[in-house]
Subunit: 386 residues, 2 copies
């Protein structure tokens, strides 16, 4: 029996690679990581000028596996497979695409579950709280390692978009285009509030043991499940939940008990339980803090336009009408600051029902917008090569 | 030292009364409560015709204490004190105002923490799941007891508004006006999803003991705290959270740890912890189900207008622009159904930043709307009395 053929526009079977960085990395919190690993995937080929590299940045619960399959039996491809591949908007026949699991992560890069070289124990809760700026700093070392002086583009959705924005501010000479999708220039009080409920769910789970659950042989399953269930509500729109589940009952009638009755309950419980098996609670806690702390305007007197004046990149900013986690109004704040800072920016507000999750979906207008933009990026590279 | 004087427009010191009902109450789930108590407060005086009675219905986490103070040292009055009192919109010089803790509650009415007369044990998780229709049935028995054949008005916000709507459908001859504020004709999938996360938080708390925590001498504090924190996010708007807390840090700078850092975190934790001391987890679970089950259109082929055709009352429907729990669009569904059913309805959409909680707030436009409406109710009563 032969394995089913992979789609023709897939990057195919990919193998992540763990890269070790032996120099120390100074973090915003004042602490230093003496060494760290990054788990990395790449798709496509770096050209001779090293001018066609695109960095993909992942969001809260994601990782380095952005496209393709790890084995022919994988049920699902990488998280942004709709966007990356031969003939897709980020066309791997043109671009050398790089994606890494960020530090603090739980998919192979150095994070809370890694062994602290100084103590010989797992970091656990002692892993430093990392910032978007720290991630960008680590990604810059990755670029050095790969021989990439300047990214043709840095792109991402949600927290990934925040990294693209930070790249443009912190390494203005090393990024030609920043593609900032479904992001915000900083979290609102409501965004922080949702993160705080998620954190409390994990931290009050008796199996959390102050984050040292690895040593106790436990996992704060209940807390992480609740955090994920809550997250899912904020990723979907009221409309998309309504059209997906409505008020459909699993058994067709009310049971007058606390069993799973409505389809939406069943969906959320399943999502919550599945997440526990693939994600680390300390990483989840850490990355909610990374989100809360993101505020590039803060060190410029809370003037986002002043922060944007550092940038030299060109920008594509994209939002989705039904996204209430990071609504179009939040993306427009970024656009307005870029305009005020006299930076070139293209803004696309995509009509979509799927809420924040839209950035992961094959929405035709969205794919067309990114295709058109990356066509231009490619043309620039080709023009320079001549 | 004398106690501070109560405000002149307060109903003053009030004393709740527990009324015992000895007849059986048939519930929608098919079970029967052999007897039950209702904890009741009243303000003002019932007139000779018993034509000036107004029933106030409470929401998820509230109770019979709608106005006034239980003692001069109370820091806060009842939950709708802005609306009820001499000279206030529901003017206690004109109206006899009644409010009861609903069955299933935890403030003196029969609920999960009460003793089951059949087993001699606390009901706990065996307390039947009650519906809005069950509550209305119990409230009708309360009306009988008080000698009220017909309410001048039934009014409430959120789940309270749902009871007012149900009254108009189930007892068309016993209600002259229904005042339905910040409500919805049924919960959306997203509303149910939030309730489900709250329920899972409580039910997965190891101190929940399948709802028999009374016997174990425990309280599922963590779960109930999480449920309340989450609730609070949905009661406030993003705007009101932003203007109340912004991204203010308690210590003025980032701590790079998991202590309470942002003001909004501190607020939520405080609200969550305070709630645990005043509310019962089994009641909270039960009432989230009451909300999920509310769907008066269901038995009319999901045609809300058909359900509304049963009503004989006149309606005031009120919503608040920043309410995203039960948005103005949900109130307009009710209005449209009433119009389609040819029922008289006045609709007020109040511009307010405070989100769902607006219905509890002294917002001038809101107070004026209810004042004007209850003036009319009063004039009708006066006209009939002549």
């Amino acid at each position: 029996m032969t394995a089913p053929a992979l789609p023709a526009d897939s990057v195919g079977i990919v193998t992540p690679e763990k890269l070790a960085f032996h120099g120390p990395l100074s973090l915003d919190c004042g602490r230093i990581l003496p060494r760290f690993d990054l788990m990395v995937e790449t798709y496509g080929t770096l050209n001779a000028q090293a001018s066609n590299a695109v960095l993909i940045c992942h969001a809260l619960s994601s990782d380095h596996h952005a496209a393709g399959y790890h084995s022919p039996s994988d049920r699902k491809p990488g998280w942004w497979d709709v966007m990356i591949g031969p003939g897709k908007p980020i066309d791997t026949r043109r671009f050398f695409v790089v994606c890494c699991n960020n530090i603090g992560g739980c998919k192979g890069s150095t994070g809370p579950a890694s062994t602290d070289p100084e103590s010989g124990e797992r970091y656990g809760p002692d892993f430093p709280i990392v910032t978007v700026r720290d991630w960008v700093r680590a990604q810059a070392l990755l670029a050095d390692r790969l021989g990439i002086r300047r990214w043709a583009a840095v792109a991402g959705g949600s927290l990934g978009g925040m990294q693209a924005l930070q790249w443009a501010m912190d390494y203005p000479e090393r990024i030609a285009h920043a593609v900032v999708i479904a992001a915000a220039p900083r979290l609102s009080a409501q965004n922080i509030a949702f993160n705080e409920v998620a954190r409390q769910a994990i931290r009050t789970d008796p199996e959390f043991h102050d984050g040292r659950y690895y040593q106790h042989g436990t996992v704060p399953r209940r807390g992480l499940m609740l955090a994920r269930m809550l997250g899912h509500i904020t990723y979907l729109s009221d409309e998309s939940m309504g059209s997906k589940f409505g008020r459909e009952l699993r058994e067709g009638k009310l049971g007058y008990n606390f069993d799973t009755e409505f389809q939406v309950e069943s969906y959320l419980r399943y999502q919550g339980q599945a997440f526990v098996d693939r994600f680390d609670a300390n990483t989840y806690l850490l990355i909610t803090k990374t989100l809360d702390y993101f505020d590039p305007a803060a060190e410029h007197g809370h003037d986002l336009a002043a922060a944007c004046r550092q940038a030299r990149a060109r920008f594509l900013v994209v939002s989705f009408t039904s996204d209430w986690r990071f609504s179009p109004a939040r993306s427009r704040e970024i656009v307005q600051a870029l305009v005020a800072a006299d930076r070139p920016v293209t803004y696309g507000e995509i009509t979509a029902d799927q809420g924040h999750d839209s950035f992961l979906m094959p929405i035709p207008d969205y794919l067309r917008t990114l295709s058109a933009y990356f066509d231009r990026v490619h043309q620039e590279i080709a023009a320079h090569a001549r």
